[in-house]
């Protein structure tokens, strides 16, 4: 018989007068009484104390895998690992992020594409791209998913129009069609082209609650602002009932200087657009890709970011519970690429324009940078990371940015890979508990456990 131990993913904490326990192994969250809380704390080091438990309590804890065996832990890790591998090596879907141009009309101080050369796809590249998609989609049932990206992709709207027309002629189905744009050129003319091609997802960034803040960060190359133009374009977009848009994602990049404006921005936009259900307004923590060379941004630390997001979630009464996460992004999937304007292929969206990060091209099937490609697809991963393997959030974490993981691995770096709630699991779950408590009345008489 295998020895019973306490789950290494059990996180015990006290919140106000409540004794709470989160078990990452089954993603379960429990309220305990003091006796059980104390016993489990001791049992981590001295599992023999579990003999003091009555059989009913012991059975419940076993079912929740608070009490488990090492084999059960190993099995759960293996399960996540195989799901991740399937995600990595699936070939039912061809996912392409296409940058028809790396040119941009904006000069945002924090841009991670800072310093790259501006290029735009010519007809020869477009022809080769169509042949590439045609060839690759043979194993994906003649289908492809596309996210248009740049630079500013709307500066190359005619290229987008041509590429989609050519794919349609060849009866290649576009399963997903989305665009990341700064919104400045999302005028009626360009909206008509996107509508014709059934663009379902649009992401636009607004960096403040008003023109003054936003225009300091998201301005044109000539220094002129963009706030009015973007908002007017969105007014037109959302009033077009024939545009079959699933989602308009409004991203607000947060740093020390504008972090208090996000809430105001969200409220005013929801009011302006009458709580349109297609809107998804969300904060994003700015990352310092340019080593803080600019004065307009004042980056906040990972810990401050976590605190900010939890605080924001509490205000909005929106603290989503953790859910299992296998992880994976275009960088970690074999059948996903970022296509650059010269037909070069990258794995990570952050790498556009960086020659050393090119893994191949659309003209041949040759791998240009074998080691980089293998690092993206395989080791290093969270499954070999000792810190990850003992983290309570292991099963709900995606393992962090693979590009950062590779840099840590290759260059002895120290970039944060952790789930945003890692440093504040107690605060996050306490906030979640408080919200749930308002919705339900928890009592020990009403045990919610399904036998």
């Amino acid at each position: 018989m295998k020895k019973n131990i306490i789950s290494s993913f059990l996180y015990l904490f006290k919140s106000n007068d409540n004794f709470l326990a989160y078990n990452g192994l089954t993603n379960s969250f429990m309220k305990l009484n003091y006796n059980l809380f104390e016993l489990l704390n001791i049992a981590k080091e001295k599992p023999d104390i579990l003999n003091e438990l009555d059989s009913d309590t012991k059975n419940i804890l076993k079912k929740a895998k608070v009490i488990c065996t090492q084999k059960e832990i190993d099995d759960a890790i293996n399960q996540k690992k195989i799901l991740r591998q399937l995600d990595t090596f699936q070939h039912e879907y061809l996912n392409l992020t296409i940058a028809p141009t790396s040119t941009c009309n904006f000069s945002c101080p924090y841009c991670f594409e800072h310093g790259i050369k501006y290029k735009t796809m010519n007809d020869k590249i477009i022809d080769a791209l169509i042949v590439f998609i045609e060839r690759k989609s043979k194993i994906t049932n003649n289908s492809v998913s596309i996210t248009w990206y740049g630079g500013e992709p709307l500066l190359a709207i005619k290229k987008i129009d041509k590429i989609i027309d050519e794919l349609n002629k060849r009866k290649i189905k576009i399963l997903y069609n989305g665009i990341i744009t700064n919104g400045y050129y999302l005028n009626k003319t360009n909206q008509e082209i996107l509508k014709k091609h059934k663009i379902r997802f649009i992401q636009i960034t607004l960096d403040g609650a008003n023109a003054e803040t936003h225009n300091k960060r998201r301005f044109n190359k000539d220094g002129s602002g963009s706030w009015n133009e973007i908002l007017n374009n969105i007014d037109i977009l959302l009033s077009d009932k024939e545009f079959e848009l699933d989602n308009l994602s409004i991203r607000c990049n947060i740093d020390e200087k504008n972090k208090n404006e996000y809430e105001i921005l969200k409220k005013s936009l929801l009011k302006r657009w009458n709580n349109d259900k297609r809107l998804f307004i969300h904060p994003a923590i700015l990352q310092d890709y340019n080593k803080n060379e600019n004065i307009e941004c004042s980056y906040i630390s990972d810990e401050e970011a976590s605190e900010y997001l939890i605080k924001q979630g509490k205000k909005e009464k929106n603290i989503p519970y953790f859910s299992y996460n296998v992880g994976g992004c275009s960088a970690t999937r074999l059948n996903s690429f970022l296509v650059g304007p010269e037909g070069e292929l990258y794995k990570c969206w952050n790498d556009l324009g960086r020659k050393e990060q090119i893994v191949g091209d659309i003209f041949t099937d040759e791998i240009r940078n074998k080691n980089l490609l293998f690092n993206f697809l395989s080791s290093p991963t969270m499954f070999e990371d000792e810190e990850c393997l003992k983290c309570p959030l292991f099963f709900v974490c995606d393992g962090g940015c693979q590009l950062n993981r590779i840099e840590n691995y290759r260059k002895d770096g120290n970039k944060n890979l952790c789930h945003f709630a890692k440093s504040y699991i107690d605060k996050y779950l306490s906030a979640y508990y408080d919200i749930k408590k308002q919705e339900n009345s928890f009592t020990f008489d009403k045990i919610k456990f399904n036998e």
Binding site: T26, N27, S28, F29, M30, K31, L32, N33, N35, L53, D54, T57, I60, L61, A64, K65, Q79, L83, L86, D87, Q90, E92, Y93, N95, T97, L175, Y176, G178, F201, Q203, N247, F280, H282, A284, I285, Q287, L309, G313, N318, I319, P320, Y321, Y324, V326, G328, C329, S336, W349, C397, D398, G399, G400, C401, N404, H419, F420, Y432, F442, I447, K448
Partner: protein
């Protein structure tokens, strides 16, 4: 006196869905076309890369929902 132990589940135990596990047999995987909560968009939710927002729920996920 015998100690009393009490436990109450705020969130019950969770398992990977049958859909996810069943796909292992066929050697296929879930993809964001199948499940809108598994956002793969770089600027999407909780991708751990360039943005760290609380993970979206199914309804608030920015990914397009699977079409009938």
């Amino acid at each position: 006196m015998k100690k009393e132990f009490k436990i109450e589940f705020i969130e019950d135990i969770q398992e990977f869905s049958n859909e996810e596990m069943g796909n292992i047999i066929g050697g296929t995987s879930m993809n964001y076309q199948d499940c809108s909560c598994k956002c793969t968009i770089h600027f999407g939710t909780n991708c751990g890369c360039n943005i760290k927002t609380p993970k979206a729920t199914y309804d608030s996920c920015p990914c397009p929902k699977p079409k009938e």
